[in-house]
């Protein structure tokens, strides 16, 4: 007897739907085993996590707070991944967006009418994110430099730069040595809608819809699809690959940059430590679990945010490390990656040996 993968005759719709669902449950089981090893009751933990994320209105708004940057960076990663451009730089793009917005608020406010500061900060922040994504994109299309490394290395550079700013030249002189800039004036704060949840959430929801439409109903979206799928065919059909990679990455960077802007103007209201806490990396999980679909990204981002918030709650209530949430996230991807094969292939068990088949 042997087990082989056999190609299906057509894509399995059922598998597309079932695989992410099954992945979620498998990762729950794996995490439960891990928790049991460290003598924590998995059921109690999971229930605590769920309550922590959805148990009350304030908790739910916190989940929305975490979901917002995940949605925005997730959308950014998705655009790049559709082109098979492995943008791991959302973290840096987010950070640079935050830095640029802070720069506008801190240094341009005296010269601008108050109502203009926030829109300008958003614009400049998005441009900064786009710029940070544009560097690896340009290196890729001009010199074919591997984007995995360049986007990643630029994360470190952006984060170190931000640290340098709030520890050094931009540090609040009245902050008692606390690493952070002075608080922004209140007219530059991003309006909040519920709890700490802010306008950024609305941006994310609207942008997801727009992005879905752009990817599925415009010529540009069609071109991205062809390039991502088969650059050779795209080139043959006269599609300009370099130009499309550049525009897509500028968009990806701008989305991540917007996430950074929202974090500094909507949550911390200053540039401080804790801006870069891995949203940009988690965004990769979000985008992949959502199978690069903008609408699904919103839902997956919410789910992952729940894991993060739930993880924090567990830490407070049960003394489990907060990195529990990170572990769970990592475990989500493994079954998902393994399962994607089943959309195209199915298992076939061959019981008979050749000679039996002959006689039969």
């Amino acid at each position: 007897m042997r087990i082989v993968f056999e190609k299906r005759k057509t894509l399995s719709r059922k598998a597309i739907f079932l695989v992410p669902l099954a992945s979620f449950f498998i990762s729950l089981i794996l995490t439960a085993i891990l928790l049991a090893i460290f003598k924590a009751n998995p059921f109690v933990t999971f229930i605590a996590m769920f309550k922590g994320a959805f148990g009350s209105w304030p908790n739910f708004t916190e989940t929305l707070v975490k979901a917002t940057p995940l949605m925005l960076t997730g959308l950014g990663v998705l655009v790049a991944f559709r082109l098979k451009f492995w943008n791991i730089g959302a973290e840096g793009q987010l950070t640079l967006g935050g830095i640029a917005a802070s720069w506008v608020v801190l240094f341009w406010t005296p010269f601008l009418p108050p109502w203009m500061v926030l829109p300008l900060a958003i614009l400049v922040g998005m441009l900064a994110g786009a710029f940070w994504a544009g560097i690896p994109a340009l290196l890729k299309v001009r010199l074919k430099v591997d984007e995995v490394l360049t986007t990643l290395m630029l994360n470190y550079v952006a984060i170190l730069f931000a640290e340098h700013l709030y520890y050094g030249p931009w540090r609040d002189p009245k902050g008692f040595g606390f690493p952070g800039t002075p608080q922004f004036p209140d007219f530059t704060w991003l309006p909040r809608i519920a709890g700490r949840a802010h306008l950024g959430l609305i941006f994310a929801l609207v942008l997801a819809l727009v992005l879905w439409f752009v990817l599925n109903r415009t010529r540009w979206g069609f071109e991205l699809q062809v390039i991502g799928n088969n650059p050779g065919a795209a080139q043959t059909q006269g599609i300009h690959i370099a130009k499309n990679i550049m525009t897509a990455l500028l968009l990806a960077g701008a989305l991540a940059g917007l996430a950074g802007v929202c974090e500094v103007t909507g949550i911390s209201r200053r540039l401080q430590q804790g801006l870069s806490i891995g949203y940009g990396y988690t965004a990769i999980i979000v985008a992949w679990l959502a199978q690069l679909n903008p609408i699904a990204t919103i839902i997956v981002a919410l789910l992952i945010a729940a894991l993060l918030v739930g993880g924090d709650q567990v830490q407070m209530m049960m003394g489990l490390p907060a990195s529990m949430g990170l572990v769970l996230q990592g475990m989500l991807l493994f079954p998902m990656l393994a399962g994607s094969l089943f959309t195209e292939y199915r298992l076939r068990i061959i019981k008979t040996k050749l000679r039996d088949a002959q006689s039969g």
Partner: protein, 534 residues
């Protein structure tokens, strides 16, 4: 005495020579190879159904069949690349299980695949010893090289063991493949379309090598779809059609006409009807065009020709003589290093693919998987891939999915593309249906000039006929067509004129009604047209 009669180069002496061998090998009663009732299924198709093969020592067996008849699959089963779903294999009378290429090798079976199995970046010697089961942990390359030199002298297979594969010509690479099998002591050699990459003259040399090996008691099976080769190379012939064994014949008791009938499975080989029609203005004109290949070496030198509207110009030549670069410079995928390209009387030298597409040029690429389709997109989107930029598929700046679907349904119908739905991803289609998808898209969008590279390569009989008929229909409708092909029969049957490429130069252009295989073969080997007629 017999050996002197069996001069490998004396083609006409072959039937007699075969006769001599037959008498000698008749004493051996057990076949060296006996395959019984082999069946191999793929998800979409039954590739082999209950096929038997018998081979005696010192014998050359031809496996004849059209593309898609299941010849390669059958031999891949024997070489351990595929597993049969049913059937038995006996070697020297003993039943064997061949689960992997390693098993096959152990049993003395070696196969030369159609796409050579050589690692480009490694040396000849490294390729020859690769995967040998009894290789010492640290191979002594001096010994290996010595042994290779010895073998290459004995079989007249000149090749330097230290050169790297990418430095060798296709002919030399084939020699490495043969050496690889001899070095392993293979007793049963399988050659998959060995002459496809060779000039007719090189093919004769290969025949000589084969005969020398069979004289030493080795046996060979070679796959082909060319009747002349069956007659010239083999002792026995087995004909496959749609995965089934049609017949077994002793070669000297059959003739090409009979074989052709058996192979195609009907009485007459299809004749392509070509109506006489008037040619229009010049659609494509190349003046003294040169271009380099990826390594920066000249690939095309001083190419000049014209194609009129309604004309089909065939391009013949052994693979790797500049066909790829010719197609690429005409479609904007490669820049020329000199000369001019004019399309419909406008200068299109070194223009982008988009500009060339916009001037009405369609392109059927040689590599349909790498350049033709996006496998993870639907058939409908693949069909829309050329005209998605303009109305009716675009309305008010946005794509119109319903119209894309309409277009797809129309084309699926018109070109009888076999797909479950228009939304099925292209990668689930068979090769022939993928090619039909490309053909439908390119012909539909074509406005005057079609660049077609190997449009029927690897397709089954029906699809091949369909593709060829479409070419002719388009030319009758006034399209100028450049048809690059390796299949001389196809070129003579479809094209109006045939240009032969050799080392990036045009050896001459002759009307297809004046072309014959011999003349074309000489030109493919580098003889100019004037010299062949002289």
């Amino acid at each position: 005495m017999i050996i002197s009669i069996c001069q490998p180069y004396a083609l006409c002496a072959w039937p007699f020579a075969n006769f001599c061998f037959r008498r000698e090998t008749k004493k051996v009663t057990t076949p060296i190879l006996d395959m019984k009732g082999i069946t191999k299924r793929f998800p979409n198709v039954v590739a082999n159904e209950n096929v038997d093969v018998e081979l005696y020592p010192g014998e050359v067996l031809a496996l004849l069949g059209e593309n898609g008849a299941g010849k390669s699959t059958l031999m891949n089963v024997l070489a351990g690349m595929y597993r049969a779903d049913a059937g038995e294999i006996f070697i020297r009378g003993k039943r064997v299980e061949i689960d992997s290429p390693r098993d096959a090798m152990r049993l003395g079976i070696g196969m030369i695949h159609q796409n050579f199995m050589l690692v480009d970046t490694m040396t000849v010697a490294e390729n020859i010893i690769l995967g040998l089961p009894d290789l010492p942990f640290v191979p002594n390359m001096v010994d290996v090289n010595g042994r290779i030199r010895q073998l290459s002298e004995r079989y007249n297979l000149q090749v330097d063991p230290d050169s790297r594969i990418w430095q060798l010509s296709v002919g030399e690479q084939q020699r490495v493949e043969i050496l690889k099998l001899i070095y392993r002591g293979a007793e049963i050699l399988i050659l998959d379309e060995p002459t496809a990459v060779l000039t007719p003259q090189e093919a004769k040399e290969l025949n000589g090598i084969l005969q020398q090996m069979t004289r030493e008691g080795k046996s060979a099976i070679f796959i082909t779809h060319k009747m002349e080769e069956v007659i010239a190379f083999s002792d026995w012939v087995r004909v496959l059609n749609k995965g089934r064994l049609v017949t077994v014949k002793q070669t000297n008791r059959t003739n090409p006409q009979e074989l052709a009938r058996l192979m195609v499975g009907r009485d007459v080989l299809f004749r392509l009807e070509k109506k006489d029609h008037d040619l229009g203005d010049v659609a494509l004109e190349l003046t003294d065009v040169s271009a380099n290949n990826d390594k920066g070496l000249p690939a095309l030198q001083g190419i000049s020709f014209r194609i009129h509207s309604g004309e089909i110009l065939g391009v013949a030549g052994v693979a790797g003589n500049g066909q790829k670069q010719l197609v690429e410079i005409l479609t904007g995928l490669r820049n020329v290093s000199g000369g001019k390209i004019r399309i419909f009387n406008e200068d299109k030298t070194n223009k982008s693919p988009l500009e060339i597409i916009n001037s009405g040029v369609s392109h059927i690429p040689a590599d349909r998987i790498a350049r033709g389709v996006a496998g993870d997109m639907s058939v409908a989107n693949n069909l829309a891939m050329k005209c998605y930029r303009k109305p009716p598929l675009v309305r008010k700046g946005f794509l119109h999915p319903a119209r894309i679907l309409d277009l797809a349904r129309r084309m699926i119908d018109l070109f009888s593309i076999d797909t479950p739905t228009p939304q099925t991803h292209a990668k689930f289609l068979s090769g022939g249906n993928i090619q039909k998808t490309i053909l439908a898209r390119e012909i539909d969008a074509c406005r005057g000039l079609l660049i077609a590279a190997y449009p029927a390569r690897g397709l089954d009989v029906g699809a091949t006929e369909f593709v060829r008929k479409q070419m002719i229909a388009q030319s009758e409708a006034g399209t100028a067509i450049l048809l690059v092909s390796e299949d001389l029969e196809e070129l003579v049957g479809v094209a109006d004129n045939i240009a032969v490429l050799f080392e990036g130069k045009v050896m001459g252009i002759l009307p297809s009604n004046k072309a014959d295989t011999e003349k074309l073969g000489m030109m493919m080997a580098g003889v100019k047209l004037e010299e062949t007629t002289a």
